[in-house]
Symmetry: C2
Subunit: 371 residues, 2 copies
Amino acid sequence: MNNYEMQQEAEQFLKTYYTETGAPAEKLEERMKEVISDIKAFGTYTQTYDEIVYGVKLAWRNSNRCIGRLFWERIDVADARQAATEEEVFEFLFSHLKNAFNQGRIKPYITIFPAVSAKEETVKVWNHQLLRYAGYDSGEGIIGDSDSLEFTRICEKLGWQGKGTDFDILPLVIQIGDQPPVWRSIPEALIPEIPMEHPEYKAVADLHLKWYAIPIIADMRLEIGGLHYVSAPFNGWYMGTEIGARNFADEHRYNLLPKMAEIMGLETKHASNLWQDRALIELNEMVLHSFKKQGVSIVDHHTAAAQFRIFEKQEAKAEREVTGKWTWLIPPVSPATTHVWHQPYSNELKKPNFFYQDKAYQEMKGCPFHR
Amino acid sequence: MNNYEMQQEAEQFLKTYYTETGAPAEKLEERMKEVISDIKAFGTYTQTYDEIVYGVKLAWRNSNRCIGRLFWERIDVADARQAATEEEVFEFLFSHLKNAFNQGRIKPYITIFPAVSAKEETVKVWNHQLLRYAGYDSGEGIIGDSDSLEFTRICEKLGWQGKGTDFDILPLVIQIGDQPPVWRSIPEALIPEIPMEHPEYKAVADLHLKWYAIPIIADMRLEIGGLHYVSAPFNGWYMGTEIGARNFADEHRYNLLPKMAEIMGLETKHASNLWQDRALIELNEMVLHSFKKQGVSIVDHHTAAAQFRIFEKQEAKAEREVTGKWTWLIPPVSPATTHVWHQPYSNELKKPNFFYQDKAYQEMKGCPFHR
Ligand code: HEM
Ligand code: HEM
């Protein structure tokens, strides 16, 4: 991004921020001048904490794939822009885990590491999610989460070793500037996990399934007013189907539909008896029930859709168009029972927003220490 | 469409037809010359029966929203291009109903009425589907199928009167050229309907639900080689979810989820107990079970997706790209359990194909006899 583009982006963001928060016009102008002169002088600028906080909220509000946006104004922002050492980065990540979990009443939370700049070293978090299970290709099938196969191999190359269970929490891997990546195991006490039980099918407990309590996406780039925060892990609470209908149900993930059907005593020879659909619902029941039993925040897909509908109404009232990506917003269980199914959404991209970016470790082929 | 465009379309279609069916190159050239000279002389041309049959198959194969395309080569084509009188048109429609039902072993079937031409009068079928239930706005809620409200009012204006039940089969309404539309009730014997029962929840039978056996879309335009067949009703057999997850389940249609949940004894206060999802599955079970019990063809969404996967493989083998519309191809029940969910499809439009067209009766505001 060149200075001109950054200036454009900054101006647009500041305008939105000052207008939506009802600041006087002079204040906007003053700040605009300051920012423009900084960009001209240094090729970048520094956002105030308040600007970042509002930028994060806008980025969430603009997240077209997110059904949880009713709560866009309620997110805690940890300012980690001063984090410069590995120690500091790990500390911020650990404290994110603790604060976001909040003893079960999960808080939407984001930790902002330094924006990319020519001068300072970039802080990179290599994990896809801060909490995530390792996946191993045993030769006779996958152990753990197949979604983590590549990253698990990388962790192993870096010297980490998992226990080889289906639920080994991966270490945190970070990298500062061009230094080699370093990893650290997450202290047990900071790993909230939910053991899976089913209110009716008691045998489910014997499967010893569990899932971590918070989905903390760590590999997306947050862009606010022309600044690129390439490490800005964020979380909400789970929608049950993410675990019950995808992580546990997908054939290429934990593939639990056949097991659940067996526990339910369903005949699984003929797809036409809908055993997959029945087992799918009980997996989802299991997830919702287990989180609730542990007093940990979670939302079912119907309630989430209803909340999203309120968000849509709120936005209409504020005379803002809700953009959305239909294919992501519909839940993977009974989607046509939600209002989302029955209307189109414009997938127009607005900024601030969260973006996919290349994996930090794709650059690393072969040994990480010999590049 | 001008002559030049028609010629282009005709050439492209004939090329595909003759090539795919392995005809010798001279035959294609000969036919091409004939068609071009006809278009130049008359502004149109007449397709051979074999050309139409292959054109229909291609139109089906190119139907991006259809998951039933494995069977694209198996469809019976009734040639109704000579139909000129109302009597003849009704006869063709009645015989479509009979042949397509085929005593329960439903046949993919299409009846082709004359293509649009400057000279001959256009035959228009006004119905959305040949079999469809009326919908009445009683003032205190809808009786019947809300999807038919407008067309039902039109039928009433034309002099038809329904019994006022939830399942009144609408009359066939046709129109020849500029003549006023005429309607005819479908003889009882030609209306195959499936009474709904549930293998486990016997009380379902007391709801006296039923659905017609064949979805015969009558309001789409079939385009083959530049010719526009604006009346070409076609059918396959049902995929269960069309009835169980949409017609019966949608809140604005028959809205049966609460009733089903009641029969199942589910608590319906909290969406988080997934009562809607459970009721949805039993509605779908009911539909599949009832069709099977009556010996009438139907396919569940898992089997349909598996068949679609075979179609995709067949097409890959033939070195043709499968186009598709993801948002329509995913089933509305447990969509992520099918392979369709997990891959993108290009929604590129290929011809021949079926197209939406303006409703025949949109032109008619006020009384149909005073235009
Ligand atoms: C508060 C509770 C929240 C719920 C229930 C929720 C729900 C969801 C769901 C179900 C998805 C789709 C996930 C998938 O299918 O993989 C999603 C995606 C997303 N959400 Fe939210 N969300 C919440 C909070 C947040 C927060 C706090 C942010 C950012 C500040 C956010 C930003 C996003 C983004 C960027 C995506 C797209 C992720 C991707 O493309 O992989 N969400 N959300
Ligand atoms: C043989 C069994 C068939 C099955 C199981 C099947 C299945 C389906 C399904 C489930 C849909 C989506 C319907 C909806 O959501 O409203 C659909 C759409 C469609 N199918 Fe098929 N189909 C079959 C045969 C046919 C035939 C014979 C044709 C034409 C020759 C056809 C052409 C289409 C078209 C054009 C659509 C889109 C309709 C629209 O946009 O409203 N299908 N099909």
